[in-house]
């Protein structure tokens, strides 16, 4: 029998039948397998060692990432505190004229919805609501930038439109450079009326008497075009109610993908219009929370009602 024939069987006693030449081959075959085993073992040890090193490296990177994540979380916490500090409390002169209620919720720690109460020349006050494109830290920084821009011009003896024009002019190049823009709804409270300038902002007026009306969304967003804004005037007497909001609320979706809609928000406000302001706001929030499936945007709703 040849070496190959014997090796194909399971009987070791057959080895005695090998010729001298096949015995020699048998010897070298075994030595050859030993060599191959040695080479394979060395290969697997080397790759295994690398695997161990890779795991160690992965552990180290995980620790570094975790550390970096901790720092980012800490920074975001501070950023949130700063952004909250930048949001206003109602001005005393404003509170003497109107009741106010605000629902403001950022999608992440910090966000791009920004509202403010401004003191204007001549003792007037104004409410501003802005929705800056994007979310997170970058949007929050733009918010701080816009706030600074408005603070600079708000008390100058300018019309509402001129104020917005100036801010748009001053911030246009920067906003273009960082590829951001913002909706604006700036509403000044006069004795028995409101003046407003809107660039993509949402507003709804529910007068004590007469027909409800939506504020004109009107002009361009801040930072998108260098052209003058339009100013509008509407009566705003005792008991009249104004709602200002961003798209985060009305574009919230339920599980089926249907939008919350401005119509639904308006209906809720109107059906509870006789309640105290904070109570109306709570009803709006409850309806929104019950409707929406998941948060996908920053969300702000400001309710204003004329006292006297």
């Amino acid at each position: 029998m040849t070496l190959e024939e014997i090796l194909a069987q399971d009987d070791p006693s057959l080895v005695t039948q090998l010729s001298a030449a096949d015995l020699t081959r048998f010897f070298w075959k075994w030595k050859g397998l030993q060599k191959q085993y040695g080479r394979d073992t060395a290969f697997y040890l080397a790759t295994n060692e690398n695997l161990k090193l890779a795991y160690e490296k992965l552990d180290e990177q995980e620790r570094e990432l975790s550390h970096a994540y901790g720092i980012i979380q800490e920074d975001l916490g501070v950023a949130k505190q700063v952004q909250t500090a930048l949001l206003p409390t109602a001005l005393a002169e404003m509170e003497s004229q109107v009741e106010l209620a605000v629902f403001h919720k950022q999608l992440t720690e910090v966000g791009g919805d920004y509202y403010d109460f401004f003191r204007m020349s001549g003792g007037r006050s104004a409410i501003g609501l802005f929705d800056i494109s994007g979310h997170g830290v970058s949007a929050a920084l733009i918010m701080a930038f816009l706030k600074a821009q408005f603070m600079q011009v708000m008390e100058e003896p300018l019309s509402l439109r001129e104020i917005v024009d100036q801010v748009n002019e001053a911030s246009f190049d920067f906003l273009r450079e960082v590829r951001r823009y913002s909706t604006i709804n700036l509403v000044a409270l006069d004795a028995d009326s409101i003046r407003y300038v809107s660039g993509g902002g949402y507003g709804y007026l529910i007068p004590a008497q007469g027909e409800n009306q939506q504020l004109k969304k009107g002009s361009h967003f801040l930072g998108l075009r260098k052209k003058p804004y339009e100013e509008h005037v509407l009566p705003f007497g005792k008991g009249d109610l104004l709602a200002l909001y961003t798209d985060g609320m009305i574009e919230a979706q339920d599980k089926s993908g249907a939008d919350y809609t401005a119509r639904r928000l308006h209906a809720i406000i109107e059906s509870h219009r006789e309640l105290p302001m904070q109570e109306i706001l709570t009803r709006c929030q409850a309806d929104y929370q019950q409707f929406r499936h998941a948060d996908s945007d920053d969300c702000t709703l400001i309710l204003v009602r004329r006292k006297s």
């Binding site: 020699t24 030595k31 050859g32 060599k35 080479r39 290969f43 040890l45 080397a46 790759t47």
Partner: protein, 184 residues
């Protein structure tokens, strides 16, 4: 990325044939010693019929050598796998019929010269310088810029590929330019 499509374009720089580069890359992938992004990086822009500067070859070698603390057993295995691919999936079977044929194929450096281009001083040589069938030993002289462990693997894999020999080992002599082959 620089490539040359014909030997006529060869400069003073050593060039390596795309088939060798792809064989190396494929062997690395078969052995799972590179994967993912690095595997794609290895194959990127290499074509079978093109010539590439030696620096590109060294970059390929570097991907493996720099990734493993103990690279010699890896490179040895890569060399063996390259020749297995050459024999079973390339032109090898038509060129050599036995393990000894493979060693003879290295006479005068013919095998090596089919995959490199350039001035002799840069390219070096890889040639059979001694051969003794009775003793089962041979000596290959190598001054190529390639990794010596991979070359040991190339000789082992090339001699074993036809499957007619039972034992092959290749060690580097004290003079590292000499690779000593033992076969039975």
């Amino acid at each position: 990325m620089s490539t040359l499509s014909s030997p006529a374009e060869a400069s003073q720089e050593m060039m390596v044939h795309g088939s060798l580069m792809l064989g190396y890359a494929r062997a690395c992938m078969n052995l799972n010693i590179v994967a993912g992004r690095r595997a794609s990086q290895m194959l990127e822009g290499i074509e079978l019929s093109q010539w590439y500067p030696l620096s590109r070859w060294h970059a390929l070698e570097g991907i493996v050598v720099q990734s493993y603390r103990n690279a010699p057993p890896i490179m040895l295995k890569v060399g063996i796998e390259m020749m297995s691919l050459w024999y079973h999936h390339g032109p090898g079977k038509n060129l050599v019929k036995s393990g000894l044929d493979f060693l003879h194929f290295q006479t005068g450096g013919g095998g090596f010269q089919s995959v490199v281009l350039g001035p002799a001083a840069t390219v070096g040589e890889f040639r059979l310088e001694a051969f003794d069938t009775k003793q089962g030993c041979a000596s290959v002289y190598s001054t190529t810029p390639f990794n010596r462990d991979m070359e040991r693997g190339v000789l082992i894999g090339g001699v074993l590929a036809a499957g007619d020999l039972d034992y092959v080992d290749v060690v580097a002599a004290a003079d590292t330019n000499r690779l000593l082959v033992e076969f039975h």
